[in-house]
């Protein structure tokens, strides 16, 4: 048996993971596995909690994107208690949420994934981080990044109590009113965020797109997968982070699904494997065919590039220009190049900043009517948002007092878990040949997952119990012995070979 290489832990992401690469006797990659070694059990331990506590409890699934869970949870409470949030509450929520997107995408580009490009993928390990980025772009730029992020975080804390684990979400509304003074600060901040987003796109242009080596890496086959794409769209089928219908396009870019989140169990199912704590969602109507690409495989990708692929455009003018430019350069829609996620992320940052500006100007922003108190008897609620890392669905069942009896969470990075495994294995097989391995090459394998900006704390909260499932039974040699399929009504059929 050949050499075994372990990358442990994977770094510059949220969560825990390791990559194990098995080489055959010729030193080429036989298999590469991406394993998630963590699990916490949110869906089990949230049962018995009062539903209104969920926005604050589920935000602890992830401290990098707590606002995503907080918002998904808050919308689920709207659904659970069948209450429509007030117009002012909707504006406040969306404003907060888009501000969060600006801030979160900033963190990823400059701190997490970006260093791979800004410093270079095979730079020494000690330099492949934010400190190396600062070394490359200069302290002044670094201070700009730090300052804009702090201003966004401070405003999020003003609106939502805290930036890490906010408190604003309530069924039918938000907890706190916004003053005219705050509006003034917001308008200035929004303008600066737009400028900063434009600046970041410029950085990407100058450092990445003008560097032919990097462009070749982006367009290379090692980082290319032809999959389905999924994201939320508004009524004009443009990207929307807060609300809308879920749209799925196939690898050729044609729409195959457009549905309301309440019907999600008709469209999404999950696969369990023994070698990872994470599960692998896929498109139910296409079916699970394994970790492969193509129109016959139910593997679906989410997050920035997928959202842009699954949409007809951006809802704000500057972002739309960048959207068109990206697809021109990449050669059309949909774009299958995994590393283009970094680019799409910056376009989303610009859109989010433009939205903050629009919402900061909204008249209803500062009105006192921030809560609709007309709550009906709770029973079941389903809510969806786009988290920075993809589509995020919360689903709660409760008794008539609103005490939770069941919790299902379909978390963004979960959808990307199969694509990530595929991307890592493909990159490993393409880059590692003849037993030649060095730190730089291993980092390029890690780049395959980092583009997805994964959040494995999110992905391994624990996984739903009432989801349709497809389970494959294998013996120790890996031969398939049989399979069990459970549909979304809980009916199971077992077939043994």
């Amino acid at each position: 048996m050949g050499q075994v290489i372990t990358i442990d832990p994977i770094t510059r992401l949220e969560g825990h993971g390791k990559i194990t690469i098995f080489l055959n006797d010729s030193g080429n990659v036989d298999r590469a596995f991406f394993q998630i070694p963590e699990l916490r059990g949110f869906e089990a331990f949230c049962v018995g909690r009062p539903a209104e506590e969920m926005p604050q409890i589920t935000s602890r699934i992830c401290g990098v994107c707590p606002s995503a869970h907080h918002m998904a949870s808050t919308k689920t409470l709207d659904s659970l208690w069948d209450v429509e949030p007030t117009p002012t509450a909707k504006i406040i929520r969306q404003l907060y949420y888009n501000l969060f997107f600006v801030e979160d995408h900033t963190i990823h580009f400059y701190f997490l994934g970006g260093p791979d490009f800004v410093v270079g993928p095979d730079a020494p390990a000690g330099e492949r981080n934010i400190l190396g980025v600062i070394g490359k772009v200069g302290v002044d730029v670094a201070k700009q990044v730090i300052t804009i992020r702090k201003r966004c975080r401070d405003m999020m804390a003003e609106i939502g109590g805290k930036a890490i684990h906010p408190v604003l979400g309530l069924p039918g509304g938000v907890a706190k009113q916004i003053t005219e003074d705050t509006r003034g600060v917001l308008k200035e901040l929004a303008n600066d965020c737009i400028e900063f987003a434009k600046f970041s796109i410029q950085v990407f242009n100058d450092i990445v797109l003008k560097n032919q080596t990097y462009v070749d890496v982006i367009l290379s086959d090692a980082y290319n997968h032809e999959t389905y794409y999924m994201g939320l769209v508004d009524s004009d089928k443009r990207v929307n982070f807060y609300d809308g219908k879920i749209r799925v396009v196939n690898p050729d870019g044609c729409e195959v699904h457009l549905f309301d989140v309440k019907d999600y169990t008709d469209y999404i199912a999950e696969q369990v494997e023994e070698w990872s704590y994470i599960k692998f969602p896929y498109l139910k109507k296409i079916g699970w065919k394994g970790f492969i690409d193509g129109v016959d495989s139910g593997v679906v990708r989410v997050a920035p590039l997928a959202r842009l692929n699954a949409s007809e455009g951006m809802a704000t003018p500057l972002a739309q220009v960048e959207y068109d430019r990206m697809y021109n350069i990449l050669g059309g829609k949909p774009a299958h190049n995994t590393l283009a996620m970094h680019w799409a992320r910056l376009i989303e940052m610009l859109y989010a900043a433009e939205r903050v500006k629009e919402l900061a100007d909204a008249e209803e922003l500062t009105l006192p009517n921030i809560r609709n108190m007309d709550l009906k008897t709770p029973k079941e609620g389903i809510g969806v948002v786009e988290a920075p890392r993809g589509t995020l669905i919360h689903h709660y069942e409760s008794d008539e007092r609103g005490v939770l009896t069941g919790v299902n969470l379909l978390v963004a990075t979960l959808f990307n878990s199969a694509p990530i495994c595929m991307s890592v294995e493909k990159a490993a097989k393409s880059l590692i040949k003849g037993g030649e391995v060095d730190d730089g090459l291993l980092n390029m394998v890690e780049m395959a997952f980092r583009a997805y900006d994964p959040c494995f704390g999110c992905a391994t909260h624990s996984l739903p119990g009432e989801m349709p499932l497809n389970i494959t039974f294998r013996n120790n040699d890996g031969d398939v012995l049989g399979s069990m399929i459970r549909d979304n009504n809980g009916r199971e059929s077992l077939t043994w070979k």
Binding site: F33, E38, G63, H165, L168, K279, S462, M484
Partner: protein, 323 residues
């Protein structure tokens, strides 16, 4: 003279403590100028093998956040204990178990059932679940063991200091870092935030009546919350009286009650028990009937009074010797 070495690690955590460090904003430039960060998976590419290669005691201080849920987490924190002079339990999860320790109110079996099986009617002994060792295509793959109980950090290793909060606040983080660099630390075992309850700094303190009496406990969904008045005086449970000060009351400023993330003060052994001791006498009525009615609004006492502290409670996670 070389700069002191510092390590950050996360166990069963959410990454919020990492974000709290990044929230030092421009102060982080001062920190990185003063120390050498040798291990920090969220931001730097150093791997476990780099950590293993370091000399024992060569790391000045290791900041560890997250609760202990798996064998891998136990292994790494024991490694860090060997390599570090000081260990700081960073954040509520490391100090008290945090939100993940709510899992101690359920159990591993229910968690796995909920995650990987479904109904009790599945009659299938070979149902697929993640295993600590599997073989795929002839290759052996391992996963760490998922423990029965969620532990806080000092259940597993010796801890020198505690920085409370979910997440800890930048000002207290900076104070702690400076104290370490300047060698001005309090006695070992100290919790690095003021030893008094939240109520002492709360802006709404003045609105508290001389005697608070609660006729009926209210949930936040029941009433429109008055943004100026003490939550307890409005009948809403606020963990302020049983929670340590130092956060700056951000939740209160967000017009929501405190949920207790800083944990208890030094004089209190068990946060939830203390809250019961404080809250119960505020309820109106002298007979069981009246008290029972007043208590109806408390739906989930354990989850409310020990939101972040189940592992730290007297009953919540009875200790087991961890190998």
């Amino acid at each position: 003279m070389s700069k002191p070495k510092v390590a950050f690690y996360w166990c069963a955590s959410c990454g919020g403590c990492e974000e709290a460090v990044v929230d030092l904003a421009e102060r982080i430039l001062d920190v990185v100028a003063a120390v050498d960060i040798v291990f920090w998976p969220v931001a730097l590419d150093f791997k476990v093998k780099h950590l293993e290669a370091m000399q024992d005691g060569s790391i000045a201080v290791a900041f560890i956040n997250g609760a202990i849920r798996t064998s891998e987490q136990e292994h790494i924190v024991k490694l860090l204990r060997k390599k570090a002079g000081l260990v700081v339990a960073f954040g509520a999860c490391a100090a008290l178990g945090g939100i993940p320790s709510l899992a101690n109110l359920t159990n591993k079996e229910k968690i796995f059932n909920r995650s990987y099986h479904n109904s009790p009617s599945v009659d299938n002994p070979t149902g697929t679940v993640p295993k600590t060792e599997t073989i795929v295509d002839g290759h052996t793959l391992k996963l760490p063991e998922f423990y029965e109980t969620v532990y806080k950090l000092d259940d597993v290793i010796d801890v020198d200091y505690y920085l409370p909060g979910c997440a800890p606040v930048p000002d207290l983080i900076m104070e702690a870092v400076l104290a370490i660099l300047e060698g001005k630390l309090p006695p070992k075992g100290a919790i690095l935030s003021p030893d008094k309850s939240l109520c002492s700094s709360c802006d709404r303190n003045e609105s508290k009546p001389e005697d608070i009496t609660i006729g009926e406990i209210k949930r936040v969904i029941d009433i429109e919350v008055d943004p100026e008045k003490c939550f307890l005086a409005q009948g809403i449970i606020c963990m302020g009286p049983a929670t340590r000060d130092g956060c700056g009351e951000p939740c209160i400023n967000g017009n929501m009650p405190c949920t207790g993330c800083f944990g208890p003060t030094d004089s209190c052994r068990d946060q939830g028990a203390k809250m019961i001791a404080t809250l119960a006498p505020l309820l109106e009525g002298d007979d069981e009937e009246a008290v029972r009615k007043a208590l109806e609004g408390i739906i989930d006492p354990a989850g409310t009074f020990y939101r972040y502290a189940v592992s730290g409670s007297l009953l919540g996670a009875a200790r087991k010797e961890v190998e």
